[in-house]
Amino acid sequence: MRSKTRRAALAALCAGALTLTAAACGSDDDSSEDGSGTTITWWHNSNNEPGMGYYEKVAKDFEADNPGVNIEIQAMAHEDMVSKLAAGFQSGDIPDVYMERGGGELADHVEAGMVRDISDAASEEIEKIGGSVAGWQVDGKTYALPFSLGVVGFWYNTELFEQAGITAPPTTLTELGDVVAQLEDAGIDPISVGAGDKWPAAHYWYYTALRECSEEVLTDAVTSLDFSDPCFVKAGEDVETILGWEPFNPGFLTTPAQEGATSASGLLATGKVAMEMQGHWEPGVMQGLTDDGKGLGDKTGWFPFPAVDGGAGDPAAALGGGDAWAVSEEAPDEAVEFVKYLLSDEVQIGFAENSMGLPTNSAASDSVADPALAGLLEVRDAAPYVQLYFDTAFGTSVGGAMNDEIALLFAGEASPEDVVEATQAAADQES
């Protein structure tokens, strides 16, 4: 086939040209004119301060320690980065250092031979990170180093909770219902959800599935793509129960997750709703959405997704995921060194101090400046297991179909059975 041979020819060309110039392969700049210079392209999604400035400093430090290395940073909005990466994978033009979310997506990239195996080169770091690295391993080989691994839970406004007379965060689904009722009585919109982006809505189903299904069923589902266990339908029924309380912000079906003051995160950050279920990045997002750059500040509270009565899942299990630095197959060796540097104690401590996420290097655990994130870190480390977001774990195709149908469930246009059927149908296409 034509494209195959051309691709192969290009790959060979790239391998040969690597020492001369990286311009044609993997990176599209040509600023490394002097023979000794190496340019590493790096894409990340910290396009807000302080993260953006911190990463610039990190790159400068690395350049200072490694003369001749030039790091080209591109900071962009998360959505932009995802679509550009997708296009990049298609054309084979991906940056040297980029973010991998693990799961089915990474497996596809590995299968296509685009990600570098760093098992040996970064063995020290892998050992240090420990079990968390599992989500970025394919057939026992490691392809990326997670730098932030977080769990999803409810972020809430402690002041609004007090105002509504709520003394303790809910621990069961029934209690969550009571809290919602109390908030509504106090005239406060209880929960915001960015169902317009689908995945924030889908997280509700993921979590109820995590509570209803045993760990074995879930682990099995990720590999066999079999969703026949009745616990998956029960998960949808639990979501219907939550929807029955009508707890969500007006217009939630088109509310974006985190773009703008009227996004789900914006509503929480500006005190218009009492809580939102989101990932570990929420405080950072909220900071960018408020004029004073503080987000909810001292009023930030967090509680885990409540237990579900009669569920087979462990109530302490957490839904989560993270971001890892991966190196493209065609990248210069220095890129691997740079990724190792990104996982070093020094960089991870700075990462934690700037509250950019939940560091995976335990050396940085005590440096997490944000008390809410520090609390989250404890929850993460105490969880019996962290289930990778289903859409990531199953890959974009099955995950997308699943999220779509869950969004329909939120709109009242699909049943719990429909969610399972649509997911199964998409999964059957995969084999």
Binding site: F89, A112, G251, F252, S397
Partner: protein, 326 residues
């Protein structure tokens, strides 16, 4: 009547192929010898053809090829599935609904934008003060980028906190609780209102251009017969710009079938897939889900549907222009 033969910018297109009626307008007298003329033609046409071949045709062929494979968007394309992707797309309710939405927009455009645009064009064709300024103002939305218009309209349409909801509440109307874009039943009509705002300027622009071609003497004659302004418009102006109207309708239909930017910025096809179009479906399947084969099949189907509609329109509606001319 001389102006009955008028056709719009697109009108001579498909009709011409069918009837070859344009030939009478062109000097049938070849200049120079055959080879010389051929050389000239090649020289004139080749830059355009080269551009089209490289940047339109080749990518489209790739999309067609893509539609026969299961492909995630990277790595070798080697999993041939035949027509499976087409079957999947046609069985997918999201796609068939999207086709429905496209045709809803087509029909609404004709039913609503045509009278509106025509009324505006007639209004702006009157000798009222500030006419030039008015014409410019009507075209403003058409010139504003979709991304920019989307950002602004999204702010305007915010549930509760947006301007539109605030104003409605102030005058005693309760806006829909989920917002205009968030209520499944209202989403498509709301999107259509924004589309009308954005694209009505083009209709007015074309109609005005058509009206400028109506000779003054005809108005004067009608006026001498004692016809009122409106009667004159109805019996003289509107029939005369019939071909322009049919041309606009053609452009509008094609545009409606390809609708993407505005909807993508406003709703991403939501809520509950109520505002999806064929184009949002294929972009969603391609870039968001990595089902490039399905996206390829959807784009081929989009093309086929657009093509069939265009031909049908030419045969049924545009033929009138030709018939009159004969």
């Amino acid at each position: 009547m001389t102006h009955e033969g008028a056709t719009g910018p697109v009108a001579p297109t498909l009709t011409a192929v069918v009837t070859r009626r344009d030939e009478r307008r062109v000097a049938p007298r070849p200049v120079g010898t055959g080879w010389r003329q051929r050389l000239e033609i090649v020289m004139f046409v080749s830059p355009a053809l080269a551009l089209m071949a490289v940047f339109v045709l080749w990518p489209v062929i790739s999309a067609v090829r893509m539609s026969f494979y299961r492909w995630k968007g990277f790595g070798p394309m080697d999993q041939w599935v035949g027509l499976d992707n087409y079957r999947l797309v046609l069985q997918d309710e999201v796609f068939t609904d999207a086709v429905m939405h496209n045709f809803t927009i087509v029909v609404l455009s004709i039913l609503i934008q045509l009278p509106l645009g025509l009324g505006l064009a007639l209004l702006l064709n009157r000798r009222i003060r500030g006419r030039g300024l008015l014409r410019t103002i009507v075209f403003v939305p058409y010139v504003v980028a979709e991304v920019i218009a989307g950002v602004v309209w999204f702010q305007l349409l915010q549930p509760q906190y947006g301007v539109i909801d605030t104003v409605l509440t102030n005058i005693g109307i309760t806006p829909p609780e989920q917002g205009f874009l968030g209520t499944p039943e209202l989403a498509l009509p709301t999107v259509f209102v924004v589309l009308t705002w954005k694209y009505l300027g083009l209709a007015v622009l074309l109609f005005l251009a058509g009206l400028q071609g109506v000779p003054d003497e005809l108005y004067e004659a009608a006026q001498l017969d004692g016809a009122s302004w409106w009667q004159t418009q109805r019996s003289v102006a509107i029939p005369l710009i019939g071909p322009t109207i049919r041309t606009w309708a053609f452009l509008s239909i094609i545009g409606s079938l390809q609708q993407f930017d505005m909807i993508w910025v406003l709703t991403h096809g939501g809520p509950a897939n109520r505002t999806t179009t064929m184009a949002t479906y294929l972009v969603e399947q391609g870039t968001e889900r990595g089902n490039y084969g399905i996206a390829g099949a959807a784009s081929v189907l989009l093309f086929v549907i657009a093509f069939v509609t265009a031909v049908a329109y030419q045969v049924v509606v545009m033929r009138r222009d030709t018939a009159v001319q004969r």
